[in-house]
Amino acid sequence: MDWIAVGLKEDVPPGFVIPSRIADTELAVWCSPSGTYHAWSDRCPHRGMRLSHGFVRGETLACIYHGWQYNEAGSCHYIPAHPKLTPPDTICVPTYRCIEAGGVIWVSLTETDTPLPALGGRRTVRSLPVSMSAPDLAAHFGAAGFTTIAVVSDHDVLLAVQPCTDGECMIHALAAPDADRSAVSHWLEDLRATLERVPA
């Protein structure tokens, strides 16, 4: 699978964790205090709590339920109820490839040699949900895929599309660096209204 945008850098500052997803794979996306982005399976191996409900402490992500802390490799390194225990290596969270580039947080669920999508010097504007599937949205623009879709428009908009469910996707929008972001935001609202009126 290609790189998929799961959020914008400015929406996930250092010390933040957010829930996200790529189709059926639920993700906890978090940024360490030093600014490194991570995308993990959104389940604590202990009791299955969503790690996106958790919190960043130092360079670890902690589960809200029992406070188990996972280091940046996804390995459990501290269990508060057993402070002297060195947790075994088997307690670890499935991790995915995650890179921030051009203000966009990109995730690949599989190992990949595919280069990150080119953004053409555009800057990020905002993310917004659209009630249609990612393939349907790509088809609307006649695009072969939905990783990024360049839209002919006044603002030179580029859409990075995140498949969420059969009826929902997120679009992460970028535009020309000198574009008025409020104007682009309004344009995106209009685009969404148009897209959602398209019969399935």
């Binding site: 914008l8 929406d11 933040f16 957010i18 919190f55 905002r126 993310s127 935001s185």
Partner: protein, 204 residues
């Protein structure tokens, strides 16, 4: 001041939260809203013929609208007011019929057209997200500016409790950052379904 209160009510929480942020003491009088329907009892109807909560009494003054109560609590706190508050107070009241109704349907079995309530809730969240995103373009985090006002406190409970009514907050990054800013305010208090920021409770 006495607040006739129900712990699971989003509108009662607005009042408790505002008072906590101001450091204003409230005397709480718990009302058995569910399952007791005490808010419809003769004693409560004598106080508030509408039969709703919250009710705030301050001497001879009786207030039964949460927006009016927020204005009353902040009458001597101009830092919590903005000329832009009124339209967001109206927006907050309207949330009772969308996200608020969906939550009461799911949590305590209110009769509702749940699909319609959730769809109206999503529309409201989109409106809020668009506004907060534009605020962020100007470097502002709150609804009316760089500081919170009664507008933020009025909108916060029903928005933050949306998942209780089956409406996800996941796709709204600006709403998430705004909620975090409110939860970070000195004096912030919780209610069931809205927890404090754990990372602030026990800093490293």
């Amino acid at each position: 001041m006495i607040l006739y209160d129900y712990v699971l009510s989003a509108s009662c929480y607005k009042v408790r939260l505002m008072a906590a942020l101001l450091g204003t003491p409230l005397t709480l009088r718990a009302v058995n809203f569910h399952p007791g329907r005490e808010h419809k009892s003769p004693e409560m109807l004598a106080l508030n013929p509408k039969g709703t909560l919250p009710i705030l009494t301050d001497g001879d003054t009786v207030l039964t609208d949460s927006a009016d109560i927020l204005r009353h609590l902040t009458a001597d706190h101009p830092e919590w007011r903005s000329t832009d508050d009124d339209r967001w107070l109206a927006f907050a009241s309207a949330l009772n019929a969308s996200l608020g109704l969906a939550r009461l349907h799911d949590v305590i079995g209110y009769d509702a057209d749940i699909d319609k309530a959730r769809a109206a809730g999503v529309a409201a969240l989109r409106t809020l997200e668009a506004h907060l995103t534009e605020q962020r373009f100007d470097g502002l985090i709150f609804l009316t500016g760089s500081k919170p006002t009664i507008a933020d406190i009025a909108c916060f409970p029903n928005i933050a409790l949306a998942p209780d009514g089956g409406v996800s907050l996941d796709p709204y990054p600006s709403v998430r950052l705004w909620m975090r800013a409110i939860r970070s305010l000195p004096g912030f208090i919780e209610m069931p379904g809205i927890h404090r920021l754990h990372e602030l409770a026990h800093p490293v």
